[in-house]
C-alpha cells in the first residue's frame, strides 16, 4: 500500500486516539503532580436550622472558600507538589514500617496495597480459568453434532452479552440475604449462609462471575481458531498413535498459541480494571480494586470535595501496573512477528 493511502486510512483513528486517549492521559499525568485548592478564609457565621417547633441558631467560625467578586467563582491556587499525591496514595512510609516490624498484614490495611493485592490476584486467578474453560467449550462445540452446534453456540455466548454491571447485580441479588440461591443452599445444608459477610466468599463469587462472563469470548476466538487446524497434521498424528490428549497438547494448543496470547492480553487489560464487581456486589467493606480506588477519590462528598490529585496519581499507577503486566505477552507477540517476517 502506498504511504499516502495508508495515511488517509489510519488518520481518522489516529486523530481520535490522540484526542480521546493521549490528550486526557497527558492531562491526568500533569494533574497527578499538581494540587489545585480553593483559597480558604475563616469567618464567623451564624447558621439557623429548624428543630421541630423552634429554630436553633449557632454562631461558629467556619472555613469557607473566597469567592472572586468579578467572576463570581471560587478563587483557586494550583501548585506543583512533585510526588506528594503518589506518596499519599502509596503511603510508602507505612509500607516500609510494616515490613520493618515484620507485620506484613498491616500492609493490606493501606487502601492502595489492599486494592493491588485483590486486583493482581483477581487478574492472575481468572486468566488461566478463562482460557481453560473457553478452550473446553470450544472443543466440546467443535466435537458436537452439526445440528446441535448452532443452539449450543448461542447458549454459550449468552453470558457475554449481559452488561457487566447488570450481571454482577444479578449475582448479588441471587446470593444476598435470603436470595433464591442462598435460601436453597440453606435449606439443603441446614446451615445459615451469608455470602456477603466475609471477604473470601465475596472473592470466590467474583472469580466465578468473571470467568462465567468472559469465557464465551475466549470460546468464540478458540472456536474460530479450531476451524483452521491443519487436518493433515492431525491425521498423521492419529496414524502415529497419538492419544486425544497428545493431539491436543502437541498439535492443537501450539496452533492456537497466538490466540491464547491474544486472549491473555485482552483479559489482563480488562481484569486489571476490575470495577463492576465491586459496585455490583457492594464489597467495599471487604474487597476493593485499584479502579474503584480511583473512582472513590473522584466521587465528591456532600461538601463537594474531590481528591482529584490523588485520583490522577492512582490512575497513573493503574496504567503503570497494566504496562508491567503486558510486557511479557507483548514481548512474545513481538518475537513471533519478527520470526514471521523471515
Amino acid at each position: 500500500m502506498k504511504f499516502k493511502t495508508f495515511f488517509w486510512f489510519v488518520a481518522p483513528s489516529v486523530f481520535m486516539m490522540l484526542l480521546f486517549i493521549a490528550a486526557p492521559l497527558i492531562s491526568v499525568f500533569i494533574q497527578s503532580f499538581q494540587i489545585t485548592q480553593p483559597v480558604m478564609q475563616q469567618i464567623e457565621v451564624e447558621t439557623c436550622t429548624p428543630g421541630f417547633l423552634t429554630q436553633t441558631c449557632v454562631t461558629e467560625v467556619k472555613t469557607v472558600p473566597v469567592i472572586n467578586e468579578e467572576t463570581g467563582r471560587t478563587e483557586t491556587t494550583t501548585a506543583w507538589v512533585g510526588f506528594q499525591s503518589y506518596q499519599n496514595v502509596l503511603q510508602m512510609d507505612k509500607f516500609w514500617s510494616a515490613i520493618g516490624s515484620g507485620n506484613w498484614g498491616e500492609i493490606l490495611q493501606i487502601d492502595f496495597w489492599k486494592a493491588l493485592r485483590f486486583t493482581l490476584m483477581f487478574t492472575l486467578v481468572t486468566l488461566p480459568l478463562v482460557i481453560g474453560v473457553g478452550l473446553m467449550i470450544a472443543l466440546a462445540v467443535n466435537n458436537a453434532a452439526k445440528s446441535l452446534r448452532g443452539p449450543v453456540i448461542f447458549v454459550s455466548l449468552l453470558p457475554f452479552i449481559i452488561t457487566p454491571v447488570i450481571g454482577s447485580l444479578s449475582i448479588y441479588w441471587l446470593f444476598v440475604g435470603d436470595g433464591i440461591l442462598t435460601a436453597t443452599l440453606e435449606r439443603w445444608t441446614g446451615q445459615d449462609i451469608a455470602m456477603f459477610a466475609q471477604a473470601w466468599t465475596i472473592e470466590l463469587l467474583m472469580y466465578f462471575y468473571r470467568v462465567w462472563h468472559v469465557a464465551p469470548f475466549a470460546f468464540v476466538i478458540f472456536y474460530a481458531g479450531l476451524q483452521t487446524v491443519n487436518m493433515d497434521t492431525l491425521e498423521s498424528a492419529i496414524i502415529d498413535g497419538a492419544s486425544r490428549f497428545e493431539r491436543l497438547r502437541y498439535v492443537i494448543v501450539p496452533h492456537l498459541m497466538p490466540l491464547i496470547i491474544f486472549i491473555a492480553l485482552i483479559h489482563l487489560m480488562d481484569c486489571y480494571r476490575v470495577f463492576d464487581e465491586i459496585i455490583g456486589f457492594r464489597s467495599q467493606a471487604h474487597v476493593i480494586s485499584l479502579q474503584w480506588l480511583t473512582f472513590d477519590f473522584l466521587t465528591p462528598d456532600d461538601a463537594g470535595n474531590r481528591a482529584i490529585s490523588r485520583a490522577a496519581a492512582s490512575a497513573m499507577l493503574t496504567m503503570v501496573g497494566i504496562v508491567i503486566l503486558l510486557i511479557l505477552p507483548l514481548r512474545r507477540t513481538w518475537r513471533d512477528h519478527k520470526g514471521g517476517a523471515h
Partner: protein, 406 residues
C-alpha cells in the same frame, strides 16, 4: 401550520382541563428543578407541576450533579432540593441566591422555623425534618414484656431477649453499608457520647474517649445484626422490617411511612417509632437532625427567580401536605403529626437535643474518611485505636489537599 395549531390547541385544552386544576395561578416561565428522589420530593414536585411549564428531575445522585449544574451560567436548574448536608458546596461556591425579598413577597404562609439563615440572610426554605430514630416492632416487645428502650444499653438488653425468643431472624437492623451510611452511624453515635468532631484549628478530634465508646457501641450492634450488615443501606433495612426479619433499627424517619404500605409490608401497624436511643445516661439521643428544603439558583434572571420561588411556595403549601401527610415530618403549615411522627418529634424535642448535621467542608472530608476506614474495624482487621488513628490520618491528608489544613 393548521395541523400545528390544532395540536397546540389540543395540548392546551388537555393541560387546562387536568393539569392546572389544583394550582392557584398559571406559571408562564419555563422552570426546572433537581432534587432527591424520595416520596416527599415527589409530592412537592407533583404539586409544582400542577402550575404548568415545570420540569422536575428527581435523582438520588443529585448531590454529585448539583454543584456543577448550578455553577453553569445560566444555571441548568432554577430550583434545587437540598439538605443540610448537601447545601454546603452551593453556599461555598455562591451559586444560590439570598431569598429575603422573595420570602417577603410570596412567603406569607411560611413559619419562621422554615427559614434557613446563614449570616442573617435567608439562603434556603426548609420543608421537612428528618432524623434517624428508633423503630421497633411493638407487638414483639409487648409479647416479651420489654419496655421501649431509651438507651443503647437497653436496646442491647432487649435484643438479647428477642434473640433468645427467636421470633425474628435478627434482633437489630442497621444502615451500615460501608461508605456514607456507615460513616453516618458513627456521626450519630459520637456526639451522643459528647464528642466534638473538630478542634478549633480544623484538625479532627475523633481520636478520643468518645470515639472509642462510639466504636465500641457500633461493634456491639454487630452481635445482633445480619452478618451481611456491611452491605445494608436504608432501603435494605426498610425491607428487612417490612418482611418481618428484624425487630428494631435506628432508621430514617422518612422511611416510617413504608412500614404501613400494604403493598409491600407484612407488618402493617406493628412498627412503632420512639426517640433515638441515648448513648449515655443524660445525654442527647445518639442521632443528628437533618432538614430538606429548596434553594434558588444565583445564575438566573430575577424574573426567573421570582417565578421559581413562587412556584416552590405553591408546591410547599398546606394543600400538598394534606395529600401526603405521612410522606415526611413536614414543617409546612397544615401538617398533622400522626403516630408515625412520634419518634421524630420525641427526638427533636429531647433535652438536651441532638445536634444538627454540621454543614461544613471539613465534615464532608471527615465523613468520607470515616466511611473508608470504619469497615476494617467492623470486620475485625483492625483494632479500635488503630482505626481512630487511621481516620485521623485519612482526614488530615484530604484536608491538606482541600486547603482547610495547612
Amino acid at each position: 401550520m393548521y395541523l400545528k395549531k390544532l395540536a397546540l390547541a389540543g395540548a392546551v385544552s388537555l393541560l387546562g382541563s387536568t393539569a392546572f386544576a389544583a394550582c392557584s395561578y398559571e406559571n408562564e416561565v419555563p422552570l426546572k428543578s433537581l432534587t432527591a428522589g424520595f416520596e416527599a420530593w415527589k409530592a412537592v414536585t407533583d404539586a409544582m407541576a400542577e402550575c404548568g411549564n415545570f420540569q422536575a428531575e428527581l435523582d438520588q445522585e443529585f448531590r454529585t450533579k448539583q454543584p456543577a449544574a448550578f455553577e453553569a451560567n445560566p444555571s441548568l436548574y432554577h430550583i434545587g432540593g437540598v439538605s443540610n448536608g448537601t447545601i454546603t458546596p452551593l453556599l461555598n461556591a455562591g451559586t444560590i441566591r439570598p431569598l429575603d425579598d422573595l420570602v417577603e413577597k410570596y412567603g406569607q404562609n411560611l413559619s419562621p422555623n422554615q427559614l434557613i439563615r446563614v449570616d442573617g440572610q435567608i439562603m434556603a426554605v426548609a420543608m421537612m425534618v428528618n432524623t434517624q430514630h428508633l423503630m421497633y416492632r411493638s407487638d414483639i416487645l409487648a409479647d416479651l414484656g420489654i419496655e421501649t428502650p431509651s438507651t443503647w444499653d437497653e436496646v442491647f438488653a432487649a435484643a438479647e431477649k428477642i434473640e433468645e425468643a427467636g421470633v425474628v431472624d435478627h434482633a437489630i437492623g442497621a444502615t451500615m453499608k460501608s461508605g456514607w451510611n456507615l460513616a453516618q452511624e458513627f456521626v450519630n453515635m459520637y456526639p451522643g457520647f459528647g464528642g466534638a468532631f473538630f478542634n478549633a484549628d480544623n484538625t479532627t478530634a475523633v481520636n478520643s474517649e468518645a470515639g472509642m465508646k462510639a466504636l465500641d457501641t457500633m461493634k456491639r450492634t454487630l452481635e445482633f445484626t445480619d452478618p451481611e450488615v456491611l452491605v445494608s443501606d436504608s432501603t435494605y433495612v426498610q425491607q428487612q422490617f417490612q418482611q418481618g426479619k428484624i425487630a428494631m433499627a435506628n432508621l430514617w424517619a422518612s422511611r416510617a411511612g413504608a412500614m404501613n404500605d400494604e403493598n409491600e409490608s407484612t407488618v402493617v401497624g406493628k412498627v412503632s417509632m420512639a426517640a433515638a436511643p441515648m448513648a449515655m445516661d443524660g445525654g442527647a439521643p445518639a442521632t443528628t437532625l437533618w432538614w430538606d428544603g429548596i434553594v434558588i439558583a444565583a445564575n438566573i434572571t430575577d424574573e426567573e427567580a421570582d417565578a421559581a420561588f413562587r412556584l416552590a411556595m405553591e408546591g410547599m403549601d398546606a394543600e400538598m401536605v394534606q395529600g401526603a401527610n405521612e410522606a415526611a415530618i413536614w414543617l409546612v403549615q397544615g401538617y398533622e403529626p400522626g403516630p408515625l411522627a412520634e419518634g421524630a418529634v420525641a427526638t427533636a424535642t429531647a433535652n438536651p437535643a441532638p445536634p444538627a448535621y454540621p454543614s461544613t467542608t471539613q465534615m464532608g472530608l471527615l465523613h468520607t474518611a470515616l466511611g473508608n476506614e470504619l469497615p476494617a474495624f467492623l470486620t475485625g482487621e483492625r483494632g479500635a485505636e488503630a482505626t481512630l488513628v487511621a481516620i485521623e490520618e485519612a482526614y488530615t491528608t484530604s484536608a491538606k489537599e482541600a486547603g482547610v489544613l495547612e
